[in-house]
């Protein structure tokens, strides 16, 4: 039992660590702007919707990283939602960990999502086609 628990926990740890901060495509969520109670202004192309909880150290780091990204990248909006206040948003998006950031395009369709503190270079690479579209 002891060995089994430790082996299982190690596997979980390795999986979590390998997923942490990595972009995951293929999510089919939509209506991102509406979920956040917002709508894109004329020059806004991408919404980074961050789901956070009050008891979350990496959430603070993620907010800092995304704040810097939006400050230097025109067209990107960062909104943060507390899942304690809005569990419906977590359910709608199928989010089980905080922080999770879901990126939406202008129409509200999901571009990518990432759990843990995002790797900024990877995130910028995924968003680039959307931001550079004429």
């Amino acid at each position: 039992m002891l060995v089994g628990t430790l082996v299982l926990a190690t596997v979980v740890g390795i999986v979590l660590r390998s997923r942490d901060g990595r972009m995951r495509g293929g999510g089919g969520a939509s209506g991102g702007w509406a979920l956040a109670g917002s709508a894109p202004a004329s020059d806004e192309r991408v919404l980074l919707l961050q789901l956070s909880s009050p008891v979350c150290t990496p959430c603070r780091q993620t907010a800092g990283v995304l704040g810097e990204l939006t400050a230097r990248t025109p067209g990107v909006v960062h909104l943060e939602i507390d899942v304690a206040d809005r569990p419906d948003v977590a359910r709608e998006l199928g989010v089980m960990r905080t922080p999770t950031v879901v990126a939406f395009d202008r129409s509200g369709a999901e571009l990518t999502r990432v759990s843990g503190v995002p790797r900024v270079a990877d995130l910028e690479a995924v968003l680039a086609p959307e931001l550079n579209r004429p």
Partner: protein, 148 residues
């Protein structure tokens, strides 16, 4: 539960406490001792209700380990850590009930969950209770929705 006035904590102390917790819970599984698990529950309760600095492992860290390490390079918010102590308390209390009422399987399973979470924190720096707060909030909301 957590008050905004809680001073920030040394992340190395958090990892140290998680490592001690891992060892204690491993000993519980090996010995099947409900009393040892009850002692761990008291440690969790002190951290969760009185404050992290009153947790015996935290006292141990400050007295024995911290003086040899020098000042911390970063600090961590106390609220998430305190929340994780509460999650640990719930699992260990369930485990204690299991061991003392003869539902040994329940005691073992609850202890194993707490052990897995403590080990993830000690070895990987993941606060499983904190990360699953979203999931817990969803479940809680579902229940409220069902009874409303």
């Amino acid at each position: 539960m957590s008050r905004p006035g809680d001073p920030p904590v040394d992340p190395r102390g958090v990892r140290f406490s998680a490592a001690v917790t891992t060892v204690v819970l491993a000993l519980v599984l090996l010995s099947g001792s409900g009393w040892l698990l009850a002692a761990q529950a008291v440690v969790f309760a002190l951290g969760a209700f009185a404050g992290l600095r009153f947790s015996p492992y935290s006292v141990l860290y400050r007295a024995l380990v911290a003086p040899r390490l020098g000042p911390p390079s970063t600090q961590e918010e106390a609220a998430p850590v305190r929340f994780s102590q509460t999650v640990g308390l719930v699992f260990t209390v369930v485990g204690v009930v299991g061991y003392f009422t003869g539902l040994t399987a329940l005691g073992i399973v609850a202890t194993a969950f707490a052990l897995a979470a403590a080990f993830l924190n000690a070895a990987f720096g993941f606060c499983l209770g904190c990360e699953m707060y979203a999931l817990i909030a969803r479940v809680r909301n579902n229940k409220q929705g069902a009874t409303a």
